[in-house]
């Protein structure tokens, strides 16, 4: 019995001849904030997409709370062209759609904000509650699910109040400032009642002050919602501040992992990504 919330094992994702993620194995323990960093095109978002079921990996497996949720092996055209490692180790094919994985308790945000543009803030979060419904289409149409509907609205209200979005609940989501849109995306992910939250560049496009606020915000939701967080981020201040551990990817492959201190002093990471400090 392990305390892993998420474990990726030997995950390779190959598009045609390009190996986007190369034999990646990582673990995220309960309650941790783990960051995935690396230069552009290193395969970070692809790794996210494998975990959330957007892509089925070419080879490898993903475990969530000790249960295997994704597994695949090279087949079809890939059988001949497979350029990764560990060929033949995996023999099953488990390819759930993203909604199934979200139902297990994995929620995510997107690198480019993907809110439901025609809806207001409240509805955006309320729609995410659809996943946890017990009503079917008939009970919902004939309003026999009123108790559940009211409970969900109440939950959304609490969530929005907790995340300081209650004042803007009736605004169209696209009319919000950028930082609030990001926060709304996190609120929406939290509405699906996850235990693992995947944040894809939560601080993208933010100024230093907003980034500092976000740091506190992420810490806060981790404790308030009892979350485990896996995060992709380029803002090194943010990453070094809040990460318990860091994984560094380069050209799809893992080049280092460890605590922020270890990563900062790792010569390979400095060469590939962080760069030398200017004297």
């Amino acid at each position: 019995m392990s305390t892993n919330v998420l474990m990726m094992k030997d995950v390779t994702m190959q598009f045609g001849g390009v190996v986007a993620v190369d034999n990646l194995s990582l673990e995220v323990n309960k309650g941790e904030i783990v960051s995935l960093i690396g230069p552009n095109g290193a395969g970070k978002t692809t790794a996210f997409n494998v975990v959330t079921g957007v892509y089925a990996p070419t080879n490898g497996a993903v475990y969530f709370n000790g249960n295997k949720i994704v597994e695949n092996y090279p087949s079809g055209k890939m059988k001949k062209n497979y350029a990764g490692k560990e060929n033949g180790k995996y023999t099953k094919r488990i390819e759930p759609t993203p909604d199934k994985i979200t139902a297990l308790g994995v929620a995510r945000t997107f690198q480019n904000i993907r809110l439901w543009k025609s809806q207001d803030v409240f509805t955006n979060v309320l729609i995410a509650k659809h996943l946890r419904r017990t009503s079917n289409v008939f009970t919902a149409t004939f309003r026999l699910n009123r108790a559940e509907e009211n409970r969900q609205r109440k939950e959304v209200e609490e969530l929005l109040k907790m995340l300081d979005l209650w004042e803007v609940r009736n605004e169209l989501c696209t009319s919000l400032p950028y930082g609030l849109q990001r926060r709304l995306e996190i609120a929406r992910a939290l509405a699906t009642e996850p235990t693992l939250l995947l944040l894809d560049e939560p601080a993208a496009g933010m100024n230093p002050q907003e980034t500092a606020e976000l740091t506190a915000f992420i810490e806060k939701i981790r404790t308030d919602f009892n979350l485990t967080i896996l995060m992709i981020e380029h803002h090194m201040d943010l990453v070094m501040d809040i990460s318990d551990r860091i994984y560094v990817l380069n050209f799809g492959a893992l080049i280092a992992s460890g605590t922020p201190g270890e990563i900062q002093n790792n010569p390979e990471v400095i060469a590939a990504y962080l760069g030398e400090k200017e004297e």
């Binding site: 959330t52 997107f110 025609s118 659809h130």
Partner: protein, 371 residues
């Protein structure tokens, strides 16, 4: 603040309901005083039927974001189901004269036949939906359009003539002369669709329309919800097909062409994609224009010069120009993606006549000064 919005909404509902009752009352009175053959009844009946099918198409195209063009096919299924199961047994030898009276020798009540016509359309939608709903935008449109055309051909096939009467007319089934029947069925069905759209499932449909990737990532099962929307939309298209059969008193597969789907699509676009009230308003406008209001343009007697401008078919030219003008100047349709509400209506009237509002302000100011 929320309660204020709610009470305003509440007021709008009550006013809307009142207007509806008023409309039905007016129709009842009109039916008493005007001759049955008056054009207004044709417009009202056909308008109600088209409103229903347009709203069902809007559920799919406007609220779920699935661009489907199979509506005529599902109407055909509904119309035939209704006709086949309600032709009185005694009349069957005459209707199915080339097929020895057909093989179905029983009838079911009208209400049951109406529901069955929806269910048959929904069942076919389910089957066709399994393969085609994976397609995106234009490809889905092509696939569903093809499906409707195939259905039309199959229903005219002689080999299954014992059921469908081949390419011959189906007739002698029970019909209703009163507008109220069409309105009652259409209102019940549209109310159901509105209830669905405002439920948690309707919100999920809109999420799929706005961003499929995000919807799936937030746990909405795309395949299931698209299928659901498609099946429900087809159910109501089937019922409207049955209504069309009742309206026309005879039905033939030949008439359910793709041009019919385009007419419905036009109604949806003019009304506003994603607006139920828009679809309803525009369907009555559309039917009124195409059947009634522009008729005078066909009248050759109106020509006052030697140039024969007014002649049979001229109304279609004008109609086309009107539609082009609407599409040019109201790109989002009459209603956009909003719904008609009395408070919004009064607001836009006030905007149109700013003098009215100013006069009021001045009046209140002068009152203040008087105090």
């Amino acid at each position: 603040m929320n309660t204020a919005i709610n009470s305003k909404k509440h007021k709008d509902y009550i006013i809307g309901f009142g207007l509806l009752i008023l409309l039905l009352g007016t129709i009842t009175v009109l039916e008493q005083i005007l001759p049955r053959t008056s054009m207004i009844f044709t417009v009202l009946k056909k308008g109600a039927i088209y409103a229903l099918v347009a709203v069902s198409m809007n559920l799919l195209n406007g609220f779920t974001g699935l661009f489907s063009l199979g509506q005529a096919g599902f109407m055909l299924l509904g119309a035939y189901t209704y006709a086949i199961f309600t032709i009185p047994v005694a009349a069957r030898p005459q209707v199915y004269q080339y097929f020895d009276g057909g093989i179905i020798q029983f009838t079911i009540p009208v209400a049951a036949a109406l529901i069955l016509s929806g269910l048959v359309a929904a069942f076919f939608a389910y089957l066709i939906g399994l393969p085609v709903l994976h397609l995106k935008s234009d490809y889905l449109a092509i696939a569903t359009l093809g499906f409707a055309e195939i259905l039309r051909a199959i229903f005219q096939w002689d080999k299954i003539g014992v059921i469908t009467n081949g390419s011959n007319l189906l007739k002698k089934y029970p019909v209703f002369k009163s507008c109220l029947f069409y309105f009652a069925v259409a209102i019940i069905c549209i109310t159901l669709i509105v209830l669905l759209i405002n439920s948690t499932y309707g919100r999920a449909f809109k999420a799929i329309r706005d961003d499929e990737v995000a919807a799936e990532a937030m746990g909405i099962n795309l395949a299931k919800h698209k299928q659901l929307s498609f099946v429900i939309s087809s159910f109501f298209a089937g019922i409207s097909g049955a209504l069309l059969a009742i309206f026309q008193t005879t039905i033939q597969a030949k008439q359910f062409t793709s041009a019919m789907t385009y007419e419905i699509l036009l109604i949806v676009v003019i009304g506003g994609i994603g607006s139920i009230t828009g679809s309803c308003i525009s369907s009555f406008l559309f039917i009124a224009c195409s059947e009634w209001l522009l008729r005078f343009l066909d009248d050759a007697k109106l020509n006052f010069s030697s140039v024969q401008i007014f002649r049979p078919g001229f109304r279609k030219v004008v109609f086309a120009i009107v539609i082009m003008a609407i599409v040019l100047f109201y790109q989002k349709g009459i209603m956009g993606d909003k719904e008609f509400s009395f408070s919004r209506f009064t607001q836009s009237v006030k905007k149109l006549f700013p003098g009215f509002k100013k006069a009021k302000v001045i009046k209140s100011k002068s009152e203040g000064a008087a105090e």
